[in-house]
Assembly symmetry: C2
Homo-oligomer: 358 residues x 2
């Protein structure tokens, strides 16, 4: 199956799953049974860290939504309306944001109290069908990361060169699964937390020096970014390194890319990149490179303690770095390497760290 | 003078201004005078709304920083260090973020208490030289807006086509003044507040329908975005329309593009686009299009009252819309047009509003 077929297939699967949801309800009606559907539970007790997969997954508990239960009638009807809306999107080749869907629903015969309510039913649909909502045409508001380097992709009929999209790079669109990788001439991917660091790496020709794609995460990685990193890792077999601020928040931005979030346990199989690796800034880096630091705040220490208990951080390396950070009581930003000059991070730090890791 | 010369000229002016700052100090020393420099005041009493220019400017009050004043010695020395750092950036063709500069300063013989302090001295330099800090090589962290449509630009040797940079568009880089406009085939620019609306306009082919560039502001417009809008308006003679949420915050995102901010009075001549126009969502739109609304919160009403007193809103049309919004007590988001279907905003609302305005 070539790429075009795979993509069409992905879309067909979505349409078919939506249809079969409707069929199930119709069948019940035809058999004079009370229609009901199975919705996997998203309660915390059904969210499990899977040691083998190395990310959170949903357990096998589920609930039933039945038209025989007065409390559930509305929720089930809402889900059918949303499924129908998504089917329409698929058929017209359009997408919509959750916000747009909420407003569109004003014209439906069933209402949502607020957008929160329609979002939750959207998630219910996602988990019921086992697909991401992007596959159903429901896109997040926010775009993904910026990408710079020797990568060519196709969006529809347009070929895009991530070396010729401007110094701020190619922006990963919410509809990243519609994008095909055409050609690349890189050996790895380095993702950095801030656009300040992204521009530094572009300016110092890091893409050439390290044969790398440079990805500017812009803080917590958007869903589209996580999907992109998973795809370059698995489809193009490129190792992914993440370089963030040396504090619990930087750690966790990396970890959500690596092992997914608990909240999205039902779609982590599409988003998590368990083989992605945290390059730095580690507590050891703070010491070894004598970086300018800020003292840890109470909230940082609290967060570090939480991370220690988090199954995603069970690796000895992580535990050691978290404990070391608590011991020195300091954190450092990734831009703090500038203490040694603007070029230092590319000329000295990254080569040393990459050598250690590869 | 062609574009290349103009750009080189811009850079030369910056270098020369930096040099003459140093010369002034040296001359004083040679004449056995106590060195001092004139720094225009940025105090609120020196920020004036200029009726003719239609944006905030600095008045003609200024202070003197003198090495004869113990309190000012450090500030003046800090400014000289920063000026020297900027000169280095110009000469090597590099840029740095304010954050990087702060960390670089760790290696200087003079210190800054925190980044806040180095930022302020950076602004002092900006106002003293009458140039933006981008002209001095000091870039903001954040990128600008996304642009989609028939526009080709040059960044260095790379030609970029804003129709072929992906569905999420061409990202305006912080160094927008290094960008040349090469070719365009549009009659106007429509800037929208959210990326949700940006993707809607791209998807509904609004760029074709209205011969327009589509600009996704991502909330409050970054400096690079404001500079871009000013440049397309003045260099390419394109009318600029801004379509935001119908609330005081949406109004003000537009107004800062149009008439600049008080805080940046010293660089508004580079950033403000007085001929840009607010297309909607207005209070009248909320009524005429019977949009889904939310009630105004106390903080919205407070803000609307502030806007009424703001000289930038002295136009009768603005005053009427602000009062009308307070009267109906309601606000509406730009995506609320989806009530009438996803296409409505492009098929009905925008054509009607553009006809009214053109």
């Amino acid at each position: 199956m070539n790429k075009k077929e795979a993509k069409a297939n992905r879309k067909n699967i979505a349409v078919n799953k939506l249809k079969s949801l409707g069929d199930m309800i119709l069948e019940d009606v035809e058999k004079n049974q009370v229609p009901s559907i199975r919705v996997p539970s998203r309660g915390t007790s059904n969210i499990v860290y899977d040691d083998e997969k190395r990310y959170y997954v949903l357990g096998d508990r589920y609930g039933r939504r039945s038209l025989g239960n007065v409390k559930q009638i509305k929720k089930l009807a809402q889900m059918v309306y949303i499924a129908n809306f998504c089917k329409g999107l698929m058929e017209t080749g359009k997408t919509a944001t959750l916000r747009e869907m909420y407003y569109v629903s004003e014209g439906w015969d069933i209402d949502f109290g607020d957008q929160q309510e329609s979002n939750i039913v959207g998630e219910d649909l996602e988990v019921t069908l086992g697909m991401t909502r992007e596959d159903l045409g429901l896109m997040p508001e926010e775009d993904g990361a910026s990408v710079y380097g020797k990568l060519k992709v196709m969006e529809g009929d347009v070929e895009i060169d991530a070396m010729r999209s401007g110094k701020s790079g190619y922006t990963i669109p919410p509809s990243i699964d519609e994008v095909d990788f055409v050609e690349h001439d890189v050996k790895r991917v380095i993702a950095v937390e801030t656009m300040g660091m992204f521009h530094r790496l572009v300016q110092e020709n890091a893409y050439k020096k390290f044969d790398t794609l440079i990805v500017g995460l812009k803080g917590q990685a958007a869903r589209a970014t996580r999907r992109f990193l998973k795809r370059v890792n698995e489809e193009l077999h490129l190792p992914v390194y993440i370089c963030n601020d040396g504090d619990p928040w930087g750690f966790h931005i990396a970890m959500v890319i690596i092992s997914g979030s608990a909240k999205l346990a039902h779609v982590n199989h599409e988003l998590a990149t368990p083989d992605a690796r945290f390059l730095g800034v580690t507590a050891s880096d703070i010491i070894n490179y004598d970086l300018p630091t800020d003292p840890l705040k109470d909230i940082d220490v609290l967060r570090l303690k939480e991370l220690l208990k988090d199954p995603r951080y069970k690796d000895e390396q992580w535990k050691m770095e978290i404990k070391k950070m608590m011991k020195i009581g300091k954190k450092a930003e990734q831009q703090s390497f500038s203490k040694y000059g603007l070029e230092y991070v590319v000329d000295t730090y990254l080569p040393q760290k990459l050598e250690q890791m590869e």
